[in-house]
Assembly symmetry: C2
Homo-oligomer: 229 residues x 2
Protein backbone atom coordinates (compact mmCIF):
# COMPACT_ATOMS: atom_id res chain seq x y z
CA UNK A 1 0.00 0.00 0.00
CA UNK A 2 1.14 3.50 -0.74
CA UNK A 3 1.43 6.51 1.55
CA UNK A 4 -1.78 7.89 0.04
CA UNK A 5 -3.82 4.99 1.36
CA UNK A 6 -6.25 6.35 3.94
CA UNK A 7 -6.64 5.02 7.45
CA UNK A 8 -9.82 3.05 6.61
CA UNK A 9 -7.59 0.52 4.85
CA UNK A 10 -6.05 -0.51 8.17
CA UNK A 11 -9.20 -2.58 8.57
CA UNK A 12 -8.45 -5.65 6.42
CA UNK A 13 -12.15 -6.35 5.85
CA UNK A 14 -12.58 -2.83 4.49
CA UNK A 15 -9.64 -3.27 2.15
CA UNK A 16 -11.03 -6.60 1.00
CA UNK A 17 -14.42 -5.03 0.32
CA UNK A 18 -12.86 -2.22 -1.73
CA UNK A 19 -10.78 -4.71 -3.73
CA UNK A 20 -13.98 -6.67 -4.38
CA UNK A 21 -15.90 -3.58 -5.40
CA UNK A 22 -13.22 -2.25 -7.77
CA UNK A 23 -12.76 -5.74 -9.21
CA UNK A 24 -16.51 -6.08 -9.79
CA UNK A 25 -16.74 -2.68 -11.48
CA UNK A 26 -13.65 -3.32 -13.63
CA UNK A 27 -14.91 -6.69 -14.82
CA UNK A 28 -18.34 -5.17 -15.36
CA UNK A 29 -16.80 -2.56 -17.67
CA UNK A 30 -14.75 -5.10 -19.65
CA UNK A 31 -17.80 -7.22 -20.05
CA UNK A 32 -19.97 -4.21 -21.01
CA UNK A 33 -17.37 -3.46 -23.68
CA UNK A 34 -17.68 -6.98 -25.06
CA UNK A 35 -21.44 -6.97 -25.03
CA UNK A 36 -21.78 -3.52 -26.62
CA UNK A 37 -19.22 -4.44 -29.28
CA UNK A 38 -21.35 -7.51 -30.01
CA UNK A 39 -24.55 -5.42 -30.10
CA UNK A 40 -22.88 -3.05 -32.56
CA UNK A 41 -23.22 -5.82 -35.14
CA UNK A 42 -27.02 -5.44 -34.95
CA UNK A 43 -26.89 -1.72 -35.78
CA UNK A 44 -29.12 -0.76 -38.72
CA UNK A 45 -26.67 1.90 -39.97
CA UNK A 46 -23.00 2.74 -39.80
CA UNK A 47 -23.81 5.84 -37.75
CA UNK A 48 -25.69 3.74 -35.17
CA UNK A 49 -22.86 1.22 -35.15
CA UNK A 50 -20.36 3.98 -34.42
CA UNK A 51 -22.55 5.30 -31.58
CA UNK A 52 -22.78 1.94 -29.85
CA UNK A 53 -19.11 1.15 -30.47
CA UNK A 54 -18.25 4.49 -28.83
CA UNK A 55 -20.30 3.48 -25.78
CA UNK A 56 -18.25 0.26 -25.67
CA UNK A 57 -14.99 2.24 -25.77
CA UNK A 58 -16.17 4.62 -23.06
CA UNK A 59 -16.81 1.66 -20.73
CA UNK A 60 -13.38 0.22 -21.38
CA UNK A 61 -11.76 3.62 -20.86
CA UNK A 62 -12.48 3.41 -17.12
CA UNK A 63 -10.67 0.14 -16.57
CA UNK A 64 -7.10 1.49 -16.55
CA UNK A 65 -7.63 3.66 -13.43
CA UNK A 66 -9.43 0.88 -11.55
CA UNK A 67 -6.58 -1.48 -12.40
CA UNK A 68 -4.00 1.07 -11.23
CA UNK A 69 -5.82 1.58 -7.94
CA UNK A 70 -6.11 -2.16 -7.34
CA UNK A 71 -2.35 -2.42 -7.85
CA UNK A 72 -1.78 0.46 -5.42
CA UNK A 73 -3.78 -1.51 -2.86
CA UNK A 74 -1.41 -4.44 -3.37
CA UNK A 75 -4.04 -6.52 -5.16
CA UNK A 76 -3.68 -8.46 -8.42
CA UNK A 77 -6.32 -6.71 -10.56
CA UNK A 78 -7.24 -9.83 -12.51
CA UNK A 79 -7.54 -11.94 -9.37
CA UNK A 80 -9.78 -9.19 -7.97
CA UNK A 81 -12.03 -9.39 -11.03
CA UNK A 82 -12.16 -13.20 -11.09
CA UNK A 83 -14.99 -13.80 -8.56
CA UNK A 84 -17.31 -11.54 -10.57
CA UNK A 85 -16.83 -13.15 -13.95
CA UNK A 86 -19.39 -15.87 -13.39
CA UNK A 87 -22.30 -13.74 -12.11
CA UNK A 88 -21.67 -10.96 -14.65
CA UNK A 89 -21.20 -13.37 -17.56
CA UNK A 90 -24.33 -15.20 -16.48
CA UNK A 91 -26.30 -11.95 -16.42
CA UNK A 92 -25.22 -11.28 -20.00
CA UNK A 93 -25.89 -14.84 -21.09
CA UNK A 94 -29.45 -14.70 -19.71
CA UNK A 95 -30.09 -11.26 -21.21
CA UNK A 96 -28.56 -11.60 -24.69
CA UNK A 97 -30.58 -9.15 -26.81
CA UNK A 98 -32.58 -10.62 -29.68
CA UNK A 99 -32.48 -7.45 -31.73
CA UNK A 100 -31.07 -3.94 -31.97
CA UNK A 101 -33.70 -2.37 -29.69
CA UNK A 102 -33.31 -4.91 -26.91
CA UNK A 103 -29.58 -4.18 -27.12
CA UNK A 104 -30.15 -0.43 -26.84
CA UNK A 105 -32.46 -0.83 -23.83
CA UNK A 106 -29.98 -3.11 -22.16
CA UNK A 107 -27.13 -0.66 -22.76
CA UNK A 108 -29.13 2.17 -21.25
CA UNK A 109 -31.18 0.54 -18.50
CA UNK A 110 -28.73 -2.22 -17.54
CA UNK A 111 -25.75 0.08 -17.17
CA UNK A 112 -27.95 2.62 -15.42
CA UNK A 113 -28.98 0.06 -12.79
CA UNK A 114 -25.42 -1.12 -12.23
CA UNK A 115 -24.23 2.47 -11.91
CA UNK A 116 -26.95 3.35 -9.39
CA UNK A 117 -26.05 0.33 -7.33
CA UNK A 118 -22.32 1.11 -7.27
CA UNK A 119 -23.03 4.76 -6.51
CA UNK A 120 -25.14 3.72 -3.49
CA UNK A 121 -22.26 1.59 -2.24
CA UNK A 122 -19.79 4.42 -2.91
CA UNK A 123 -21.46 6.45 -0.16
CA UNK A 124 -19.90 4.03 2.36
CA UNK A 125 -16.34 4.45 1.06
CA UNK A 126 -13.37 6.67 1.87
CA UNK A 127 -13.26 9.83 -0.25
CA UNK A 128 -10.50 8.68 -2.67
CA UNK A 129 -12.22 5.41 -3.49
CA UNK A 130 -15.58 7.13 -3.75
CA UNK A 131 -14.22 9.65 -6.27
CA UNK A 132 -12.67 6.85 -8.32
CA UNK A 133 -15.89 4.83 -8.33
CA UNK A 134 -18.03 7.82 -9.29
CA UNK A 135 -15.59 8.78 -12.10
CA UNK A 136 -15.72 5.19 -13.39
CA UNK A 137 -19.48 5.40 -13.68
CA UNK A 138 -19.61 8.68 -15.53
CA UNK A 139 -22.28 8.66 -18.16
CA UNK A 140 -20.69 8.02 -21.52
CA UNK A 141 -22.85 10.82 -22.94
CA UNK A 142 -24.69 8.56 -25.33
CA UNK A 143 -28.00 8.36 -23.46
CA UNK A 144 -29.62 10.92 -25.75
CA UNK A 145 -28.84 8.68 -28.70
CA UNK A 146 -30.54 5.65 -27.10
CA UNK A 147 -33.61 7.64 -25.98
CA UNK A 148 -34.00 9.11 -29.46
CA UNK A 149 -33.71 5.76 -31.27
CA UNK A 150 -36.06 3.90 -28.93
CA UNK A 151 -38.76 6.60 -28.85
CA UNK A 152 -38.71 6.91 -32.65
CA UNK A 153 -39.06 3.16 -33.08
CA UNK A 154 -41.96 2.91 -30.62
CA UNK A 155 -43.75 5.80 -32.32
CA UNK A 156 -43.49 3.89 -35.60
CA UNK A 157 -44.57 0.55 -34.07
CA UNK A 158 -46.45 0.84 -30.74
CA UNK A 159 -46.43 -2.96 -30.20
CA UNK A 160 -42.65 -2.70 -29.85
CA UNK A 161 -43.26 -0.67 -26.66
CA UNK A 162 -45.03 -3.59 -24.98
CA UNK A 163 -42.30 -6.05 -25.85
CA UNK A 164 -39.54 -3.69 -24.71
CA UNK A 165 -41.34 -2.93 -21.43
CA UNK A 166 -41.34 -6.67 -20.67
CA UNK A 167 -37.67 -6.81 -21.63
CA UNK A 168 -36.87 -4.01 -19.17
CA UNK A 169 -38.55 -5.92 -16.34
CA UNK A 170 -36.59 -9.02 -17.24
CA UNK A 171 -33.31 -7.06 -17.13
CA UNK A 172 -34.21 -5.78 -13.66
CA UNK A 173 -35.07 -9.30 -12.44
CA UNK A 174 -31.88 -10.88 -13.75
CA UNK A 175 -29.75 -8.07 -12.34
CA UNK A 176 -31.27 -8.51 -8.87
CA UNK A 177 -30.78 -12.30 -9.04
CA UNK A 178 -27.09 -11.95 -9.83
CA UNK A 179 -26.59 -9.13 -7.30
CA UNK A 180 -28.08 -11.37 -4.63
CA UNK A 181 -25.68 -14.18 -5.57
CA UNK A 182 -22.74 -11.79 -5.26
CA UNK A 183 -23.97 -10.54 -1.88
CA UNK A 184 -24.26 -14.14 -0.63
CA UNK A 185 -20.76 -15.08 -1.86
CA UNK A 186 -18.72 -12.01 -0.94
CA UNK A 187 -18.78 -11.50 2.79
CA UNK A 188 -16.53 -8.44 2.91
CA UNK A 189 -18.61 -6.61 0.31
CA UNK A 190 -21.83 -7.32 2.21
CA UNK A 191 -20.15 -6.36 5.48
CA UNK A 192 -19.34 -2.98 3.94
CA UNK A 193 -23.03 -2.17 3.80
CA UNK A 194 -23.50 -3.48 7.33
CA UNK A 195 -20.85 -1.05 8.61
CA UNK A 196 -17.74 -1.67 10.73
CA UNK A 197 -15.39 -0.13 13.24
CA UNK A 198 -15.83 3.64 12.95
CA UNK A 199 -18.06 3.26 9.93
CA UNK A 200 -21.83 3.51 10.03
CA UNK A 201 -23.75 0.70 8.43
CA UNK A 202 -27.18 0.03 7.04
CA UNK A 203 -29.89 -1.78 8.91
CA UNK A 204 -32.39 -3.89 7.00
CA UNK A 205 -34.80 -0.97 6.63
CA UNK A 206 -32.03 1.19 5.13
CA UNK A 207 -31.11 -1.59 2.68
CA UNK A 208 -34.78 -1.75 1.74
CA UNK A 209 -34.83 1.99 1.09
CA UNK A 210 -31.70 1.66 -1.04
CA UNK A 211 -33.38 -0.92 -3.26
CA UNK A 212 -36.47 1.26 -3.47
CA UNK A 213 -34.31 4.14 -4.73
CA UNK A 214 -32.64 1.90 -7.33
CA UNK A 215 -36.03 0.60 -8.50
CA UNK A 216 -37.42 4.13 -8.73
CA UNK A 217 -34.57 5.27 -10.88
CA UNK A 218 -35.09 2.24 -13.12
CA UNK A 219 -38.74 3.29 -13.52
CA UNK A 220 -37.64 6.84 -14.41
CA UNK A 221 -35.26 5.55 -17.06
CA UNK A 222 -37.93 3.32 -18.58
CA UNK A 223 -40.27 6.33 -18.66
CA UNK A 224 -37.64 8.42 -20.46
CA UNK A 225 -37.61 5.72 -23.12
CA UNK A 226 -41.39 5.93 -23.31
CA UNK A 227 -41.85 2.53 -21.64
CA UNK A 228 -43.92 1.32 -18.69
CA UNK A 229 -41.89 -0.49 -16.08
CA UNK B 1 -16.09 24.78 -46.12
CA UNK B 2 -14.66 26.80 -43.24
CA UNK B 3 -12.25 29.70 -43.25
CA UNK B 4 -9.49 27.34 -42.12
CA UNK B 5 -9.71 25.31 -45.32
CA UNK B 6 -6.43 25.75 -47.21
CA UNK B 7 -6.16 26.83 -50.82
CA UNK B 8 -5.49 23.30 -52.10
CA UNK B 9 -9.21 22.58 -51.55
CA UNK B 10 -10.10 25.00 -54.36
CA UNK B 11 -9.21 22.08 -56.64
CA UNK B 12 -12.39 19.91 -56.48
CA UNK B 13 -10.44 16.76 -57.35
CA UNK B 14 -8.13 17.40 -54.43
CA UNK B 15 -11.06 17.88 -52.07
CA UNK B 16 -12.66 14.69 -53.37
CA UNK B 17 -9.43 12.79 -52.82
CA UNK B 18 -9.14 14.05 -49.24
CA UNK B 19 -12.77 13.15 -48.51
CA UNK B 20 -12.05 9.67 -49.92
CA UNK B 21 -8.90 9.30 -47.87
CA UNK B 22 -10.47 10.42 -44.58
CA UNK B 23 -13.52 8.25 -45.29
CA UNK B 24 -11.32 5.23 -45.97
CA UNK B 25 -9.28 5.76 -42.79
CA UNK B 26 -12.41 6.34 -40.67
CA UNK B 27 -14.13 3.21 -41.92
CA UNK B 28 -10.85 1.31 -41.53
CA UNK B 29 -10.75 2.32 -37.86
CA UNK B 30 -14.39 1.39 -37.21
CA UNK B 31 -13.83 -1.94 -38.86
CA UNK B 32 -10.55 -2.48 -36.98
CA UNK B 33 -12.52 -1.86 -33.78
CA UNK B 34 -15.05 -4.52 -34.75
CA UNK B 35 -12.44 -7.06 -35.73
CA UNK B 36 -10.27 -6.51 -32.63
CA UNK B 37 -13.35 -6.71 -30.38
CA UNK B 38 -14.13 -10.03 -32.07
CA UNK B 39 -10.54 -11.26 -31.64
CA UNK B 40 -10.71 -10.35 -27.95
CA UNK B 41 -13.01 -13.36 -27.54
CA UNK B 42 -10.09 -15.63 -28.46
CA UNK B 43 -7.87 -14.22 -25.70
CA UNK B 44 -6.43 -16.92 -23.42
CA UNK B 45 -6.63 -14.70 -20.32
CA UNK B 46 -8.57 -11.71 -19.04
CA UNK B 47 -5.37 -9.63 -19.14
CA UNK B 48 -4.84 -10.46 -22.82
CA UNK B 49 -8.50 -9.75 -23.52
CA UNK B 50 -8.18 -6.32 -21.92
CA UNK B 51 -5.04 -5.59 -23.98
CA UNK B 52 -6.71 -6.39 -27.29
CA UNK B 53 -9.95 -4.62 -26.30
CA UNK B 54 -7.86 -1.52 -25.51
CA UNK B 55 -6.35 -1.70 -29.00
CA UNK B 56 -9.90 -1.78 -30.37
CA UNK B 57 -10.86 1.31 -28.35
CA UNK B 58 -7.73 3.16 -29.45
CA UNK B 59 -8.70 2.62 -33.11
CA UNK B 60 -12.20 3.90 -32.53
CA UNK B 61 -10.88 6.89 -30.61
CA UNK B 62 -9.55 8.40 -33.85
CA UNK B 63 -12.88 8.37 -35.67
CA UNK B 64 -14.42 11.45 -34.01
CA UNK B 65 -11.79 13.86 -35.38
CA UNK B 66 -11.95 12.38 -38.87
CA UNK B 67 -15.72 12.70 -38.81
CA UNK B 68 -15.48 16.32 -37.66
CA UNK B 69 -13.02 17.16 -40.42
CA UNK B 70 -15.21 15.52 -43.08
CA UNK B 71 -18.11 17.65 -41.85
CA UNK B 72 -15.92 20.79 -42.03
CA UNK B 73 -15.22 19.90 -45.65
CA UNK B 74 -18.96 19.81 -46.26
CA UNK B 75 -19.02 16.04 -46.71
CA UNK B 76 -21.42 13.53 -45.13
CA UNK B 77 -18.96 11.40 -43.14
CA UNK B 78 -20.94 8.18 -43.58
CA UNK B 79 -21.35 8.72 -47.32
CA UNK B 80 -17.59 9.31 -47.44
CA UNK B 81 -16.96 5.97 -45.70
CA UNK B 82 -19.45 4.02 -47.83
CA UNK B 83 -17.26 3.25 -50.87
CA UNK B 84 -14.65 1.63 -48.62
CA UNK B 85 -16.95 -0.71 -46.74
CA UNK B 86 -16.88 -3.44 -49.34
CA UNK B 87 -13.08 -3.67 -49.90
CA UNK B 88 -12.28 -3.33 -46.19
CA UNK B 89 -14.99 -5.79 -45.12
CA UNK B 90 -13.78 -8.18 -47.80
CA UNK B 91 -10.21 -7.90 -46.51
CA UNK B 92 -11.43 -8.87 -43.03
CA UNK B 93 -13.64 -11.64 -44.35
CA UNK B 94 -10.73 -13.20 -46.25
CA UNK B 95 -8.37 -12.84 -43.32
CA UNK B 96 -10.55 -13.92 -40.38
CA UNK B 97 -8.04 -15.28 -37.84
CA UNK B 98 -8.37 -18.95 -36.90
CA UNK B 99 -6.81 -18.49 -33.50
CA UNK B 100 -5.52 -15.97 -31.00
CA UNK B 101 -2.04 -15.73 -32.57
CA UNK B 102 -3.31 -15.14 -36.08
CA UNK B 103 -5.45 -12.38 -34.57
CA UNK B 104 -2.45 -10.81 -32.83
CA UNK B 105 -0.35 -10.89 -36.02
CA UNK B 106 -3.18 -9.37 -37.98
CA UNK B 107 -3.64 -6.59 -35.41
CA UNK B 108 0.04 -5.76 -35.53
CA UNK B 109 1.07 -6.40 -39.12
CA UNK B 110 -2.24 -5.51 -40.81
CA UNK B 111 -2.65 -2.19 -39.05
CA UNK B 112 1.05 -1.50 -39.58
CA UNK B 113 0.70 -1.94 -43.34
CA UNK B 114 -2.41 0.21 -43.54
CA UNK B 115 -0.74 2.93 -41.48
CA UNK B 116 2.39 2.91 -43.65
CA UNK B 117 0.25 3.23 -46.74
CA UNK B 118 -1.78 6.16 -45.40
CA UNK B 119 1.39 7.84 -44.13
CA UNK B 120 2.90 7.61 -47.61
CA UNK B 121 -0.19 9.24 -49.08
CA UNK B 122 -0.15 11.89 -46.32
CA UNK B 123 3.10 13.26 -47.79
CA UNK B 124 1.02 14.56 -50.72
CA UNK B 125 -1.50 16.45 -48.57
CA UNK B 126 -1.85 19.97 -47.23
CA UNK B 127 -0.33 20.37 -43.76
CA UNK B 128 -3.62 20.34 -41.79
CA UNK B 129 -4.89 17.17 -43.42
CA UNK B 130 -1.45 15.56 -43.10
CA UNK B 131 -1.34 16.27 -39.36
CA UNK B 132 -4.83 14.85 -38.91
CA UNK B 133 -3.98 11.68 -40.85
CA UNK B 134 -0.73 11.14 -38.97
CA UNK B 135 -2.47 11.69 -35.61
CA UNK B 136 -5.16 9.16 -36.62
CA UNK B 137 -2.50 6.55 -37.23
CA UNK B 138 -0.64 7.00 -33.97
CA UNK B 139 0.51 3.71 -32.59
CA UNK B 140 -1.87 2.62 -29.88
CA UNK B 141 1.17 1.69 -27.75
CA UNK B 142 0.28 -1.97 -27.61
CA UNK B 143 2.93 -3.26 -30.03
CA UNK B 144 5.17 -4.42 -27.21
CA UNK B 145 2.34 -6.60 -25.94
CA UNK B 146 1.87 -8.32 -29.33
CA UNK B 147 5.62 -8.81 -29.88
CA UNK B 148 6.00 -10.33 -26.40
CA UNK B 149 3.07 -12.74 -26.78
CA UNK B 150 4.03 -13.93 -30.27
CA UNK B 151 7.74 -14.42 -29.49
CA UNK B 152 6.94 -16.34 -26.31
CA UNK B 153 4.52 -18.62 -28.16
CA UNK B 154 6.99 -19.34 -30.97
CA UNK B 155 9.76 -20.12 -28.47
CA UNK B 156 7.43 -22.69 -26.88
CA UNK B 157 6.32 -24.17 -30.22
CA UNK B 158 8.66 -23.44 -33.16
CA UNK B 159 6.21 -24.94 -35.69
CA UNK B 160 3.88 -22.06 -34.89
CA UNK B 161 6.51 -19.72 -36.42
CA UNK B 162 6.20 -21.38 -39.84
CA UNK B 163 2.42 -21.19 -39.83
CA UNK B 164 2.38 -17.55 -38.70
CA UNK B 165 4.99 -16.57 -41.32
CA UNK B 166 2.65 -17.95 -44.02
CA UNK B 167 -0.23 -16.05 -42.42
CA UNK B 168 1.76 -12.79 -42.58
CA UNK B 169 2.35 -13.29 -46.31
CA UNK B 170 -1.33 -13.93 -46.84
CA UNK B 171 -2.24 -10.72 -45.00
CA UNK B 172 0.14 -8.77 -47.25
CA UNK B 173 -1.33 -10.36 -50.38
CA UNK B 174 -4.95 -9.69 -49.43
CA UNK B 175 -4.15 -6.10 -48.44
CA UNK B 176 -2.50 -5.42 -51.81
CA UNK B 177 -5.43 -7.01 -53.67
CA UNK B 178 -7.95 -4.77 -51.92
CA UNK B 179 -5.75 -1.66 -52.19
CA UNK B 180 -5.55 -2.26 -55.94
CA UNK B 181 -9.35 -2.50 -56.16
CA UNK B 182 -9.69 0.81 -54.32
CA UNK B 183 -7.13 2.46 -56.60
CA UNK B 184 -9.02 1.23 -59.68
CA UNK B 185 -12.38 2.48 -58.34
CA UNK B 186 -11.48 5.81 -56.82
CA UNK B 187 -10.11 8.11 -59.50
CA UNK B 188 -9.60 11.15 -57.28
CA UNK B 189 -7.60 9.18 -54.76
CA UNK B 190 -5.36 7.73 -57.47
CA UNK B 191 -5.03 11.15 -59.07
CA UNK B 192 -3.71 12.46 -55.75
CA UNK B 193 -0.64 10.28 -56.12
CA UNK B 194 -0.27 11.31 -59.76
CA UNK B 195 -0.12 14.99 -58.74
CA UNK B 196 -2.11 17.97 -59.99
CA UNK B 197 -2.04 21.73 -60.46
CA UNK B 198 0.73 23.06 -58.19
CA UNK B 199 1.22 19.67 -56.62
CA UNK B 200 4.02 17.30 -57.53
CA UNK B 201 3.01 13.75 -58.35
CA UNK B 202 4.58 10.34 -58.50
CA UNK B 203 5.71 8.68 -61.70
CA UNK B 204 5.52 4.90 -62.00
CA UNK B 205 9.05 4.47 -60.69
CA UNK B 206 8.21 6.54 -57.60
CA UNK B 207 5.06 4.45 -56.98
CA UNK B 208 7.25 1.37 -57.29
CA UNK B 209 9.64 2.76 -54.68
CA UNK B 210 6.70 3.55 -52.39
CA UNK B 211 5.53 -0.08 -52.50
CA UNK B 212 9.10 -1.25 -51.91
CA UNK B 213 9.24 0.89 -48.75
CA UNK B 214 5.89 -0.49 -47.52
CA UNK B 215 7.04 -4.07 -48.19
CA UNK B 216 10.34 -3.46 -46.41
CA UNK B 217 8.57 -2.17 -43.33
CA UNK B 218 6.31 -5.23 -43.40
CA UNK B 219 9.44 -7.42 -43.42
CA UNK B 220 10.85 -5.47 -40.47
CA UNK B 221 7.65 -5.96 -38.48
CA UNK B 222 7.60 -9.68 -39.21
CA UNK B 223 11.24 -9.88 -38.07
CA UNK B 224 10.39 -8.09 -34.81
CA UNK B 225 7.83 -10.84 -34.21
CA UNK B 226 10.52 -13.43 -34.91
CA UNK B 227 8.96 -14.42 -38.24
CA UNK B 228 10.33 -14.75 -41.78
CA UNK B 229 8.39 -12.80 -44.34
Amino acid sequence: MTASTPVAFEDPTYREAVVDLLGAIAYGEISAFERLAEDAKLAPSLEDKLAIASMASAELGHVARLRERLEQLGADPFAAMAPFREPIDRFHEYTAPDDWYEGLIKAYVGDGMANDFYREIAAYLDADTRDLVVASLEDSGHSAFVVDRVRTAIAADPRLGGRLALWGRRLMGEALTQAQRVAADRDALSALLAGGVDRPGLDLAAIGRMFTRITERHTERMAELGLDS
